[in-house]
């Protein structure tokens, strides 16, 4: 009996050791980018864990000497992400509610159509979409470029699916009593369903924000004009310019990851549980 207990304790320590080791593997690269961003250029390949002095010149360089400016990159990323979150919330919640609770001819067929679009890879769409956008005059370099991104990303099949799933689980009695009182479907939606859907609204907001903030593929194709670049696109372009000048590059990496890190720190339990939840539903 004692031998067995010893074995269990021993096993636990091995397990803990593996977990701690892999945490380092997950964490060290990010730590390294922060540390490098405070080093001088000549210091980088000493590969010391910490910089000799807390040197902020890389951040000054990134903040003042790049074109387009850091402010432009941040503004574009944020503007696109926030707009797309709002569009996803409006279009996803209304469509999700209609598919979950309203009766109308063609509902199920259309819902399967929504699901089927998830099978179509973006890379197949890129050529015809690009040509279509050129024909619509949305690829040219003025603000209509953003409109092209909004059109392309305004709606997400996954969001409609998640909203529908959530609305299906809200008790029908809530809705029925409002309807008996004479509320219209739109009133039921805005006064009963939406206030009860805050968790799914948060889920869709975080998923969409992160997806848009990190996206490189569509911006690298549609937002060619430098004053329209987003942060990931800026990173791609500056890599060629800075070459071996790593501290400013890492400063840009750190700054671009910061918003995601903040969201993650404040909501990590929620994010993990919601990812678990959406994984179950898929």
């Amino acid at each position: 009996m004692e031998g067995r207990q010893l074995k269990v304790i021993f096993g636990k320590y091995i397990l803990l050791a593996i977990l701690v080791l892999y945490s380092f593997v997950s964490f060290i690269p990010f730590f390294w980018s922060i540390s490098t961003s405070f080093k001088t250029e000549s210091e980088v390949f000493f590969n010391h864990i910490l910089p000799e002095h807390l040197n902020t010149s890389a951040y000054v360089q990134i903040a003042t000497k790049i074109t387009p400016t850091l402010y432009t990159l941040f503004f574009n990323s944020l503007f696109i992400a926030v707009t797309i979150v709002i569009l996803h919330l409006i279009l996803g919640s209304t469509a999700g509610y209609a598919f979950a609770r309203l009766r109308f001819p063609g509902r199920d067929v259309l819902f399967y159509m929504v699901l089927a679009t998830m099978m179509i890879p973006d890379q197949l769409r890129v050529v015809p979409v690009y040509i279509l956008l050129v024909k619509m005059g949305l690829i040219s370099g003025h603000p209509s470029n953003f409109l092209a991104i909004f059109l392309l990303k305004a709606v997400g099949a996954l969001d409609i699916f998640l909203f529908r799933q959530y609305f299906l689980n809200i008790p029908k009695e809530l809705e029925d009593s409002a309807r008996i009182d004479g509320a219209s479907p739109i009133q039921v939606f805005t006064k009963i369903m939406l206030p009860n859907a805050l968790p799914i609204i948060a889920t869709v907001s975080i998923l969409t924000f992160q997806g848009s903030w990190n996206d490189l593929f569509w911006p690298s194709i549609i937002l060619q004009a430098p004053n329209h670049w987003t942060l990931p696109f800026g990173i791609l372009e500056f890599q060629g310019q800075f070459q071996t000048d790593w501290p400013p590059m890492m400063a840009l990496v750190v700054l671009s990851t910061l918003p995601i890190l903040l969201i993650y720190l404040f909501a990590q339990k929620f994010i993990i549980n919601m990812q678990l939840g959406s994984a179950v539903k898929q």
Partner: protein, 316 residues
């Protein structure tokens, strides 16, 4: 008078009909914008892609009908064949690797150990950060003078005697494998969550019965847990493969638009990017896109067949 009489006869059905019609209209108007966007930009656009793929379609100037020539041309281009080979090799290695790592992490984190929430959160974070940020960071870590080689050196590896002199990303023999390592690491957190979701849904009584029958831990894992994880295996492998065949971000970040060095990071999607946005051969690019779609679609169907139709719906 007569109308009123008629209405008095069927007051319920008329208001119901009006209410039904109202509900239909609300329903249709609630889905109108998303369905229009889907119909044009997701479904209609596929037919447009087929149409474009049969032409010599430049940015300007007259278009020439080519029939299937874009498709046959592509198979004669050694760079495209290299791209297919790279994408398939990448998928064949990264999918088992990320799945195995995700499964291992999920099993470790799922055990009742102190701080398992902390570990979960730490392991998942690389999946949250942007590919641009992580790949740039990875390039720094993997440069000949970088941290990775320093760690190897610390463990007694002589870098200058290595077959690639420690040039992990700038040697065509190791560039693709380095990116495989990078992406197995960044995606394993997501795969861990997919497995965790499945693990938490498993009824614990199976394990209890096996334990009282004298099964050891390994046997429980091999004969009970792993088979019960079939929906997660299916999901992880399918989504992993679809994602792997679309490799683009890490390839263009680490190897530029040419997938340098020596096309070792040229992928199918990067090849489409080159055909369209550097050579302006849109018809050709559309043809490659369709070939990629057929490849992804048939591999997904093959997996569905392999796992059985029921795994598709998430049943065991």
């Amino acid at each position: 008078m007569t109308i009123q009489a008629l209405e008095a006869h069927k007051p319920v059905s008329k208001t119901r009909r009006v209410r039904n019609l109202k509900e239909y209209l609300t329903g249709w108007s609630f889905i109108a914008v998303p369905m229009t966007l889907f119909a044009v930009l997701s479904i209609g656009i596929l037919f447009y892609a087929v149409y474009i793929s049969r032409y010599d379609w430049g940015l300007l100037g007259a278009r020439k009908y080519l029939g299937w020539q874009n498709f046959s041309d592509s198979l004669k281009d050694p760079v495209f064949l290299r791209a297919i080979r790279n994408s398939l090799l990448y998928a064949a290695l990264v999918v088992p690797l990320q799945s195995a790592m995700g499964l291992t992490l999920a099993l470790l984190v799922n055990s009742k150990i102190k701080g398992s929430n902390f570990f979960r959160a730490t392991f998942y974070f690389p999946s949250m950060a942007s590919s641009a940020a992580i790949t740039t960071l990875f390039i720094l870590l993997m440069t000949p003078d970088g941290l990775f080689n320093k760690i190897l050196h610390y463990f007694g590896v002589n870098i200058s005697n290595l077959f690639n002199q420690g040039q992990w990303l700038s040697d065509s023999r190791t560039a693709l494998y380095s990116v495989i390592g990078l992406n197995a690491w960044t995606t394993s957190g997501t795969m861990m969550l997919f497995y965790l979701a499945n693990l938490q849904g498993i009824d614990g009584s199976y394990e209890e019965v096996a334990k009282t029958d004298g099964a050891n831990r390994w046997q429980i894992l091999r004969y009970i847990t792993l088979p019960l994880l079939k929906p997660a295996h299916f999901f992880v492998i399918t989504t992993g493969m679809i994602g792997a065949l679309q490799l683009y971000d890490q390839a263009i970040l680490a190897g530029g638009a040419d997938g340098s060095p020596n096309y070792s990071l040229m992928t199918m999607v990067l090849y489409i990017y080159n055909a369209c946005f550097r050579q302006f051969k849109f018809g050709y690019g559309a043809a490659i896109g369709l070939e990629l779609f057929v490849l992804i679609f048939s591999l997904t169907l093959a997996q569905r067949f392999l796992f059985g139709a029921r795994a598709w719906k998430g049943d065991n």
